[in-house]
Symmetry: C2
Subunit: 120 residues, 2 copies
DNA sequence: GTATGAACACACTGTTCATAA
DNA sequence: TTATGAACAGTGTGTTCATAC
């Protein structure tokens, strides 16, 4: 007997994780660089998660086998290193994206419906 | 120096409050009845907030002067009463709805943008 | 069972602290 | 300063408990 529980909008963590995967698919990156990418892409919407939330998401994605992390020297700098993330398992990433898509669509549609109901 | 802080999606409480106002604008109602209305309108999206969350929202809206609450006898029943809510200040409600709309639109657009970025 | 509301508990996430280059 | 990560702390919300009809 599965008691279907209520779902409001997709959680920030899940939102961030799928976005980070899509971004890292385009090319390797690291924590604060991803934060900047998010800032630029979503600045019109006032969204820029805290660095801790990004690190937490990357950590989970690595722990769960979607990403691999390597410490690499920063070009130009002396001994400065950054933690670079790459896709570890393409198929797994693809499956994850498809898994999350319904929840993203549902969230968008829920807002659409509410806006229509409230302001029509 | 106002440090503009990040905003993810609109909070459930704010979402609920504006929806409840719009619903009560259509006619008086009470807690669990509003819960049922929400269930039916959003069942396609799996959204049905807990009764406590609805009572909390109604309490805030009453405290802040948007709604008025009266205890009324349930028709047909003996001495059973319900807490009926009505709009207290139409202009204030209208202003509140306009205040919240940008955040609803922003949330919907943020999801739109993300879905487009991730799955394009 | 329906209805209301408070009390409790915890998940999520923002802030701060620590460390290093 | 940039970069990473852990630790701390508060907020929001789901679960449970209490009361009444």
């Amino acid at each position: 007997m599965s008691k279907k529980k209520s779902a409001y909008l997709i959680k920030q963590r899940a939102f961030l994780k799928v976005f980070l995967l899509a971004e890292i698919e385009k090319g390797q990156s690291y924590g604060l660089q991803l934060k900047k990418i998010i800032r630029h892409k979503f600045e019109a919407y006032g969204f820029e998660p805290d660095h801790s939330e990004i690190y937490r998401s990357l950590k989970e994605l690595t722990r769960d086998g979607y990403l691999k992390k390597t410490e690499e020297l920063v070009e130009g700098a002396d001994l400065k290193t950054v933690e670079v993330y790459r896709i570890k398992d393409k198929d797994k990433v693809k499956a994850y994206k498809e898994l999350v898509k319904p929840d993203l669509d549902r969230s968008r549609d829920l807002l659409r419906k509410a806006i229509d109901e409230i302001y029509s």
